[in-house]
């Protein structure tokens, strides 16, 4: 059986990749994918510990996170389309009307 700590380590690595990606990536869609990666890291932790504790609430949480992520993706992609229509670009460097 795969030990519990491996799951925790894998999810930490996935989460870090996602979080770093949000800051390094320049394309809005890539940033969005990195955020989804973070959510999946969360799901992995929840599932691993749900099975470790023999308790269902963690698995339930995963279903809710997946559902909400889908809703969020719907709204997010709609916003991306709205921005693209007005600007013809999805590079974050071009989305710079609002500044200090």
């Amino acid at each position: 059986m795969v030990p519990l700590s491996w799951y925790l380590a894998l999810s930490a690595v996935l989460f870090t990749i996602g979080a770093v990606g949000v800051f390094v990536k320049r394309n809005v869609i890539s940033i969005f994918m990195c955020i989804e990666l973070m959510l999946n890291a969360v799901n992995l932790t929840l599932i691993a510990f749900s099975s470790f504790y023999r308790e269902v609430s963690g698995q339930l949480f995963v279903f809710i996170v997946m559902t909400v992520a889908a809703a969020e993706a719907g709204v997010g992609l709609a916003l991306v389309i709205a921005v693209f229509r007005n600007r013809e670009s999805l590079n974050t460097d071009d989305i710079n009307l609002l500044k200090l």
Binding site: I35, A41, F61, L79
Partner: protein
């Protein structure tokens, strides 16, 4: 552990009536919007206002029924009914009502009058009401997302406006990112405690600190600190505290102004309700502990930074929306002081200040919305110039809101700040005293930019001669906000009493660090609550049959 028991009885659903009512109204408005012809869409706003009125009555009814058994936990301890939830529900409902009232004219000017706007606003309000009543991290997450997703759409509501698009995209990306961070914190809390219910987490965490929970290994202390830090960081993103504030000025500037007002009060109030509930109910044992820094020093640093950065950045702004955005960042710092003080005065100040801040900030934004006329955007400082000559009443109302935001008597802002700072001083701690001094200095800095607006209104020459038209809804909401701001300022006693009653039972688990390090874990009763800690402090739990 509750999953295989019976389905919640229909009686418990009655306690949810206010939220269900509002959800139904939001769905009804979506349909109504389709049925109405193009010129009649304003009716949806009236429907939304009626919905909020009914919901307020519903909240009052639930309060009347449950007033003797407060606090009560229902739905497998997922939903709590207590004074804290009632006052936050009233605050978000009032701010939603005022936001709708000031939106009517704004949307006509922007030619974006559609019903889905009000529907989304009501859905966001439902999310906030659920946040105020959540008692389980799962519930918190779902309600938070219901609120956040609705507000993402509302920020980008002006489809053809580049700034609105951009603000929505930035808010969405950073909002989703912060939800991710919050969730990772939650998943680690679940990893350590195996629980999602706030009380159970509190019990597990305190047992964990006392060293009786043998399930976890040595390094788990650091994991717990990390989990709490991530949860806190995710929540501080939502209240726009420095250094997690980058999205706020952009999102506030680009959003339609009524939504800026709504975000700066209702979303902030709900996020604070969540922050206070999670940290005071689930993690009180981690406030400060010997081996590890608890969350208190973390919050002290954040509050000091938030007040200072918010105020200093606000000083250089020429756009009033952006200036008020930075001002609301610094106000978030003041509100955080109540949580840091961790005594009754501080908690009272927290609730009281959120109440006062809601009214005064909505009022200030309502006046900026009125400046939006045919081709004038109305969000520059010079648009306010000479307001005293054009509409003296509006100028005086704005003056009231600004001196209240700055914290000058006789307004509600003064009493709120007084309570918050007094809480810090009462805590009688070296660092908290320093923090109180910093907060007072920050109040002085904030006079500068509020005075800039006052100078523009009262001394400068008008920059245009277009008339400012009021409609009945803006007038009512402005008068309501002004009267309450002054009334709370000169007669604060009843409001302080209300805020004080709210803070009872907020932090039920108290762990004494001096007690012997090896108490045996006591068996839990049916409700899953450890009776050994202090049974009188626990909320009522409706028993399962």
């Amino acid at each position: 552990m509750f999953l295989l028991q019976v389905i919640p009885s229909w009686k418990e659903t009655l306690f949810l009536m206010p939220e269900l009512q509002l959800t139904l109204f939001a769905c009804f408005i979506l349909v109504l919007d389709l049925l109405l012809p193009r010129g009649k869409k304003t009716l949806t706003a009236y429907a939304a206002l009626i919905g909020i009125a009914f919901t307020l009555i519903g909240v009052a009814q639930v309060y009347y029924v449950t007033r003797n058994v407060l606090p009560t936990l229902i739905f497998y301890q997922m939903y709590v009914i207590d004074n804290f939830s009632f006052i936050f529900k009233v605050i978000v409902l009032i701010s939603a009502a005022i936001s709708i009232a000031i939106s009517i004219k704004y949307l006509e000017t922007e030619k974006e009058l559609r019903g889905d706007y009000y529907s989304l606003l009501l859905f966001a309000t439902v999310g906030m009401m659920f946040i105020a009543s959540s008692y389980n991290l799962l519930m918190f997450y779902v309600s938070l997302e219901l609120m956040a997703i609705s507000v993402y759409v509302l920020v980008g509501y002006l489809k053809n406006n580049d700034k609105s698009n951009e603000a929505a995209l930035k808010y969405f990306l950073l909002g989703a990112f912060s939800s991710g961070i919050f969730l990772y914190g939650v998943s680690l809390v679940y990893a350590i405690t195996g629980e999602l219910n706030l009380l159970e987490i509190a019990i597990k965490v305190s047992l964990f600190i006392l060293g009786t929970d043998a399930k976890v290994g040595v390094g788990a202390h650091y994991l717990l600190a990390f989990a709490v830090a991530l949860t806190g960081a995710g929540l501080l993103f939502k209240v726009a505290a420095v250094p997690f504030h980058m999205w706020a000025p952009d999102a506030y500037e680009g959003a339609p102004t009524p939504i800026t007002a709504f975000m700066s009060v209702a979303v902030k109030a709900a996020s604070y309700a969540m922050l206070a509930r999670i940290f005071l109910v689930a993690f009180p044992a981690l406030r400060t502990i010997k081996e590890l820094p608890g969350w208190l020093p973390f919050f002290i640093g954040v509050a000091a930074l938030t007040m200072t950065v918010g105020n200093i950045a606000a000083m250089t702004q020429k756009n009033t929306k952006r200036m008020l955005a930075y001002s609301s960042i610094s106000q978030a710092g003041y509100i955080l002081l109540g949580l840091i003080a961790s005594n009754e005065t501080g908690y009272t100040g927290l609730v009281f200040y959120i109440l006062a801040y809601t009214l005064m900030n909505l009022g200030a934004f309502a006046i900026i919305i009125l400046l939006r006329r045919d081709d004038i955007k109305g969000d520059r400082l010079e648009n306010l110039s000479g307001l005293i000559k054009k509409k003296p009443v509006l100028a005086v109302m704005m003056l009231v809101f600004l001196i209240s935001l700055a914290g000058i008597p006789p307004t509600s802002g003064f009493v709120g700040k007084y309570l918050l700072f007094a809480g810090l001083i009462k805590a009688d701690n070296f660092w908290l005293n320093r923090l109180a001094v910093l907060a007072v200095l920050n109040t002085v800095i904030s006079f500068y930019y509020y005075a800039q607006i006052i100078k523009a209104m009262f001394i400068d020459i008008p920059s245009d001669d277009k008339p400012i038209n009021l409609n009945i809804f803006s007038t009512i909401s402005l008068v309501f906000a002004t009267v309450l701001t002054i009334l709370i300022g000169i007669y604060p006693q009843p409001f302080i009493e209300i805020s004080k009653s709210v803070t009872k039972n907020l932090a039920p688990v108290q762990v004494n660090q001096q007690t012997s390090p090896t108490p045996t874990p006591t068996p839990t009763n049916d409700s899953g609550i450890d009776p050994s800690i202090d049974p009188n402090l626990f909320p009522n739990v409706i028993p399962r049959k």
